[in-house]
Symmetry: C2
Subunit: 463 residues, 2 copies
Amino acid sequence: MTLAEILARELGAEHVLGPEKLSLRHPGWCAQSLDAGLLVRPADAAELSAILKATPGVPVVPQGGVTGLVEGTASSPGEIIVSFERMNRIEQIDPAQGVALVGAGVTLAQLDAALEPHGLMAGVDIGARDSCTIGGMVSTNAGGIRVLRYGMMRASVLGLEVVRADGTVLDLTSPLMKNNAGYDLKQVFIGSEGTLGLVTKVALRLFPRPRAIATALVGIDARALSAFMPRLRLALGEGLAALEGMWPDCYRRCAEFQGVTPLPLQAGPDGPGLFLIAEAFGPDDTAAQTALEQALVPMLEDGTIRDAVLAQSGAERARIWRIREGAGVIGGDGAPGYHYDVSLKLADLDPYVQRLQAKVADAFDGIAVLVFGHVGDGNLHLSLMPDGTLPPRDAVDAVVYGVLAGFESSAISAEHGVGLEKRAALQTYRPAGILAAMGTLKAAFDPEGRLNPGKVLPGNGPR
Amino acid sequence: MTLAEILARELGAEHVLGPEKLSLRHPGWCAQSLDAGLLVRPADAAELSAILKATPGVPVVPQGGVTGLVEGTASSPGEIIVSFERMNRIEQIDPAQGVALVGAGVTLAQLDAALEPHGLMAGVDIGARDSCTIGGMVSTNAGGIRVLRYGMMRASVLGLEVVRADGTVLDLTSPLMKNNAGYDLKQVFIGSEGTLGLVTKVALRLFPRPRAIATALVGIDARALSAFMPRLRLALGEGLAALEGMWPDCYRRCAEFQGVTPLPLQAGPDGPGLFLIAEAFGPDDTAAQTALEQALVPMLEDGTIRDAVLAQSGAERARIWRIREGAGVIGGDGAPGYHYDVSLKLADLDPYVQRLQAKVADAFDGIAVLVFGHVGDGNLHLSLMPDGTLPPRDAVDAVVYGVLAGFESSAISAEHGVGLEKRAALQTYRPAGILAAMGTLKAAFDPEGRLNPGKVLPGNGPR
């Protein structure tokens, strides 16, 4: 029997898609997503388990919304793509316990729509919300702009159902706040990008939707960031909902790209070195506005803040965010460029940007280094955009990561993960002992290397 | 060479303690802690690594403050006790980043004293704060009364230094908020009770000390708990700092034991079925008091709350807490009794207590079931106290865990861990697939079974 015939026997032919049907699908952000030419759509963990047991040793590539940015969904002939699109049921919403139990294939937008009537929401929100799935968000430990307030996806996961490489189903869905009855196995699977087990169901901790949000655009000297951030946190406490940053080139270019003119804050040669979007949650509009204002005014008075504007309406808030959203568009509009996602200590963010911009100007001709990020979390997104032709990726990687490695604490991936794209960089910049321990984990949970082969760590098969 | 001679060669004889010196030490809460008769005190990860490499295959039992409650520090002849008491240096406090880097042997009280001048604190606080070590708290994923607000210990750990069974040192101390550069290895070691690796250093996320705390004692019908809790959370938001509960027998007996009379709230036969201590943080006393009052008054008016008293002074607050602290004393004053630490969904807490009390009355003569707990987290502590002689532990375990297993979501350990004490119960009440996956992890990270043998899972050696 062919692989397709075995799968059809297990699931029914209508849930096994070959190259013809796949050619009608969009591969998402990773051009090689559908190269396997064979996709299955199990309905639940039991069906996925049956597939894995019926095809021992055959590599499987799990795919959620295919919105990842590091080639984590690339597949090759001989592999089976596992889609979670039929595991799209919200099984339970328990407002008293503050927990939802959802299939891995439920999209974030779908969950959000179901939670809205309860006044609840998921902790993590990301731009890909219409496509990205909860299972994918767990597998990649998704981040986004609310991490400052609610933590990464890991912090929201109370329980998981996972299918192991040999088809064993682990029911770890128990939605308890506290469970020290042995190893917390779910931690192994969160953020492992489908290489240690396949997430089929998630028990997710929920949060009350904020009643009111106040938003300010703030210009500071970039060196003032490590003074600004703790003061803002102290003043707003848990009300601090987001602290995003744009370096001047990014701010100007995004505003221009989005047609936001005049600029809410000027950005001339003598202007601020860093533009921040600060947001506060509050019980009502007035309280949120007042809290944010009271946090900012003393820093305006003592010169920590150069300039600031507090959005007085939903329209003004949207206008500020449009600039920031331009950064996402510049990264994804098809214009040539390389994009990075790195992590540093707060005090190192601007020194890194300065050193990197100098080094890039030195090494290459006419490449703009556009920088924005979740600065409150120490997370920078870099877009290196050329005037003319781009130098080879390897050469640019060496500069971006080489400068990064000069800082004592840094990570080559803050929230995007490793996938295929950063695998070589991981081998170069993570110490051998840590890579060996990752290998220990991989060998223990996927001894045949059949789960998302080649992602995160070098694996068997064509990659 | 004897083991002691090998260790003395590596560390110097003054840091190797034999039976004579150990006989002067207190074994802590576990009577068998010092039975190995051989204890070493490495100064850092390098020395610990040298010891492990010089004694291949020899079992080691890590010990922090020896305040654990589940026999996690028991040792036997032929084993080496590793004490972290010399790794007691606070290496760095970074108020801007909100991070402390500390040796595993630093006590919680020592860290707290160092953080106090900075207006910062650790997220987790527990009664054993003067003895318990940060390394031990990480290894056991400690809980306590602030979990509702700051999460378990796991949520506070940004980085770890860990020594593996073969002596390899893993430097995972990088204090970044975000790091998706490969598997989050530190998660494997947190809560593994020293059976997968030995924690030598911790990068800990810090929190601002609360400026003001308001405290109320509230009596409700126990069935109202699942309505009370989400309303309290909604009203107080992140200001909700603690929600502790005492069932009536426990409340009365603790108050009597502590000499708190008259009772702040009456507890007659027609009295409330559950006494709660609710606490709110606030920017100042007035704001905290007002917030808590405004949260409680509507529920008093509609009858969700039977009766309540809001502490108007520090003395009144202390008086309320003294009752609750009596529960800890009853559990540890040497009176015969068995103590349990279990976890359930909020709505199941009181039904479990009722069913258990009925079942115990049925099965045994004259055993009081005293119940208190961190009810906001779904965590109950049970003390079964006899009038006369206690039945065998196995028989009582069977009733306590048997009734628990009748609830769909429950855990035999909420925050105490497994150690030796709950190992048999873990084997009985966790599904085989989950136990097998725990075994996979153990075999991968400690293939010889030398790390804290016999704890959590059945292991090699005498146990």
